[in-house]
């Protein structure tokens, strides 16, 4: 799923400083699963903003709503009623949400309430980790299902680099060296020879480098 972190309350307060009436929109997709932009978090943010504004003697009117998915125009359309009456709308969806909203309602001002961070999942309660960078050409079968593009700080295709130490990446003691994991797995399973070759340079044109990407499924186009 897409993982995000809530922006700080200070940052959000600064965004809506001059606003008197706002709407906070949650999303029941990924951000609900990673506990950052679902119904519950929408209410918490609303209460926090309310309190802060009251304390500073600048009361604000806040409406809240959480829709099925902000990345789906069908659900975005359901917001039609109220939109346009607000000074600003804060979206707690991933970066896709406020963009779908902005495109659907060009006259309304939207703010992102979260920082979209990565594609990953929860590795234990309360901890999420990156697993994929959406490079457009998946190659993890060559690395026993582990992705060096997203998980090596240098996206090396021939690791581990000289900074790998005790299974950890040189960038931080909190980060596992994915190449250490790849090599150990290959060794344990007797497939080290897989790594003893020079892999062709990656074609990054399928990644962000090729420009914004599009997926077309002919069979679904009416």
């Amino acid at each position: 799923m897409i993982v995000a972190d809530r922006k700080s309350l200070e940052e959000i307060l600064a965004m809506v400083r001059e606003k008197r009436k706002i709407l906070i929109v949650g999303c029941r997709g990924c951000v609900t699963v990673c506990n950052v932009g679902g119904e519950k978090e929408v209410e918490i943010l609303a209460a926090s903003i309310n309190l802060a504004r009251k304390t500073s003697d600048q009361p604000i009117e806040i409406d809240t709503v959480t829709i099925e998915r902000q990345c789906d125009n069908e659900y975005v359309a359901l917001l039609k009623e109220g939109i346009g009456t607000y000074d600003a709308v804060v979206s707690l969806a991933c970066g896709v949400g406020p963009q779908f909203l902005s495109e659907a309602y060009p006259n309304q001002l939207f703010f992102p309430g979260v920082n979209t961070t990565f594609f990953g999942g929860a590795v234990s309660h309360g901890i999420w980790e990156e697993r994929c960078q959406g490079c457009g050409t998946c190659i993890i079968h060559n690395f026993d299902g582990l992705c060096p593009i997203a998980r090596c700080a240098k996206s090396l295709l021939h690791g581990p680099c000289g900074g790998s130490s005790d299974g950890l990446c040189e960038v931080s003691k909190e980060t596992l060296c994915i190449w250490d994991m790849i090599v150990k797995k290959k060794m344990e399973q007797g497939r080290l020879t897989d790594l003893l070759k020079v892999i062709e340079a990656k074609d990054w044109s399928s990644a962000r480098d090729g420009g914004p990407r599009r997926s077309i499924r002919e069979e679904l186009i009416p």
Binding site: C161, G162, S164, V171
Partner: protein, 310 residues
Amino acid sequence: MDEYKSGSNLEKILRAGHFAFTGECGPPKGANVEHLKEKFAHLKGMVDAVNITDNQTAVVRMSSLAASHLLVHEGMEPNFQMVCRDRNRLAITSDILGAHALGIRNMLCLSGDHQSFGNHTQAKNVHDIDSMQLIRLVTNMRDKGRFMNDEEIDVPPRLFVGAACNPFADPFEYRVYRLANKITAGADFIQTQCIFNMEKFRTFMHQAVDMGLTEKCYILAGVTPMKNLGMANFMAKFVPGMDIPDALKKRLKGVEKAKQAEEGIRFALEQIEEFKQMEGVAGVHLMAIEWEHKVPEIAERAGVLPRPTV
């Protein structure tokens, strides 16, 4: 004897079977050419080639290409270092062509330390290709006369191509295979990371010799003289992939502060003596970090002077 790959001094020395002795010099954090030339002067006649570092530890400095060129001007031979962190394949390729055009004949291919170690931690890193692919790219340019996209090159660059190797990074058992891979990719010579753990290095070299790697490639052992105990502690803590045994720290600690530099040099000299005898070691790469003026003394005491001419 078949044709030289680049005809660099370093290549000739190694081909002739001499024990190579290379040095290193970091470009200035500024455009201070005079200071750079002073550092060069200490190394003149003392080493076969001088590695010119490329934004080492991700701290921004004068470009390694420009500094290498200045070295050529001084009548010395650079080993132009290039990291994959700061350039994509277009920039890499054009810098290689530029290097050849400027009279540079050796190049060292590196991934580069992560930018989080340096002084521009907010930078975007490139890593379009990695060091293995860089070795392939530059040797294909030289040997096949082709760019990475297979287009033909009008006058291919001729560079003697080196790679780095850190026998002390993990997992240790894999390190010799990674070295083998760099040789497969086309590396002509290897300069290792600074060696302090001699026991581990002996094991590593045994493996390399057993696998026949030293027949295919020249291995230069990395030596860094410690200036004092503080430097040893700093390197152990902040330089990625450093293995500094407690015994060495103890040895430095065992002498009074004013004599620690001499003790550090002694350790380096003992290492060089052992490397001269060690099977598979073709030379030493001396990285006297910000200590270039000590190189003449170290070279003299190591008995590697005068440098041979081929």
